[in-house]
């Protein structure tokens, strides 16, 4: 089930990624704050700390956990 999920996501991603090429002059909306940094770094860090100390299913943020003394 786990592998199927990963393969499915990867296939979906590869299938959609090849469909579009967005040129620099078309990116004014992509450059908006909400599209780039949708959450300030301090808010993200606390959220990661909060879920890491309250949920056993942590991870997926690309950031290491630990250091919260929350064993």
């Amino acid at each position: 089930m786990w592998r199927l999920c990963v393969v499915g996501l990867a296939t979906l991603y590869l299938a959609t990624a090849g469909c579009a090429v967005v040129r620099p002059h078309e990116r004014q909306n992509l450059a908006r704050r909400s599209m780039i940094e949708d959450r300030p770094v301090g808010q993200s860090r606390f959220l990661q700390h909060q879920t890491g100390s309250r949920e056993g299913a942590d991870g997926g943020t690309g950031e290491p956990g630990g250091g919260c003394g929350c064993n």
Partner: protein, 363 residues
């Protein structure tokens, strides 16, 4: 109370250090952000003031740094006291450096956290490559962490125990522009932990006796996150949908979908809402009640139980100009976040509030 008295001093020292660090350099842009967080649930309160800075260094470099203090007040025995309410302080500092070299950005991060019974150090490299005219961004990072854990918060008659935890994290990600208003991203994390993963203060009632918690020494965790961000020009609305799937070799499976809406409300103002659902299975060895104390592993860790939670959050962001201010005050950015977490486990429901002020500057 001692912490509350000292907190302004810590923030002032950090702000001064950041100012001195950037003074006298060539002209560049930076940002300094001050944030205070208050977390409250049935038996735990957390106050966390923090300071974040980001600075350009030369033409191609960027530095970020943060400093925070956690004041945790808890009535939980597992958190380090012997039944009564106690307050513990954690101090954390960290930073990143990244350097752009053509389409590649490489860098590193370090972080150190210290509290009386838990010291944690970790760091590692990061790499990002922007390909196909920046339509595709590939990211990779690796981190090694070393934690030193003790039961220093236990009463004096309890024998002292010290142990370590070593952790390794690998992460790869891909982000793709899917249209002029649409971005998709997928991130995969794998982490491997080796060392003490139980709580030195926590005990388990097993066959009528109180015995120390025992967790496996090793754990391998996998998580995949997929997200789509869509900007709707007609209403100036950003919709963000995400889904996280988690699995580890302790038997926990987790599903976490999330939906966010961010609405522009005129020049310099925005508000938003978030809903997050989390559901997880319990660890293979976790039992609400143990009939034998001789089992290899025993746990009273609520995080390892099966539960689900619902999170509802709202936020408001305003730039000074939107309130009629001009000049430097007009550039200030304020943020307020209110979040409510409904958890159907012993932690109970939680309320989280943030207040932040960001100051952009040139130097």
């Amino acid at each position: 109370m001692q912490l509350i008295a000292r907190r302004p001093t810590v923030v002032a020292i950090a702000a001064g250090a950041c100012w001195l660090a950037v003074a006298g350099s060539a002209r560049a842009d930076g940002e300094l952000s001050m944030r205070g967080v208050y977390y409250k649930e049935r038996a735990t309160r957390v106050m966390q003031p923090m300071l974040d800075g980001s600075f350009e260094v030369g033409d191609h470099g960027a530095v970020t740094a943060h400093l925070l203090v956690d004041a945790i007040t808890s009535a939980s025995v597992a958190a380090g006291a012997d039944g009564g309410e106690f307050t513990e302080r954690r101090v954390e500092g960290g930073g990143t450096y990244s350097h752009e070299l053509g389409v590649v950005r490489f860098g590193s991060q370090v972080r150190y956290s210290s509290e009386p019974d838990y010291k944690s150090t970790f760091g590692g490299p990061r790499l990002a490559a922007e390909l196909f005219d920046r339509n595709l961004v590939l990211t990779a990072s690796g981190t090694v962490g070393h934690d030193e854990i003790s039961n220093a918060g236990a009463p004096p008659m309890v024998p002292r125990i010290e142990d370590t935890l070593t952790s390794y994290l690998g992460s790869i990600g891909v982000s793709q522009l899917l249209g002029a208003n649409l971005v998709g991203a997928v991130t995969y994390d794998v982490s491997y932990l080796d060392g003490l993963q139980s709580n030195l203060y926590r005990s388990v009632i097993a066959a009528g006796a109180q015995v120390a918690e025992r967790h496996p020494q090793l754990r391998t965790r996998h998580a995949v996150v997929g997200s789509l961000k869509w900007f709707v020009p007609a209403s100036s609305t950003t919709l963000i949908a995400g889904y996280r799937r988690y699995h580890d070799d302790w038997g926990i499976d987790g599903h976490t979908p999330e939906l966010r809406v961010i609405q522009d409300a005129g020049a310099g103002a925005a508000f938003g809402f978030r809903y997050r659902y989390h559901r997880q299975d319990q660890a293979d060895f976790y039992q609400p009640r143990y009939d034998s104390s001789t089992l290899a592993f025993l746990s009273d860790d609520i995080k390892l139980s099966a539960f689900d939670s619902h999170t509802l959050a709202a936020h408001l962001e305003v730039v000074g100009e939107a309130l009629g201010f001009e000049g430097r005050i007009g550039e200030l950015r304020g943020q307020i976040v209110i979040e409510y977490v409904a958890q159907n486990n012993r932690f109970g429901n939680a309320l989280v509030t943030h207040a932040a002020l960001t100051v952009p500057f040139a130097y």
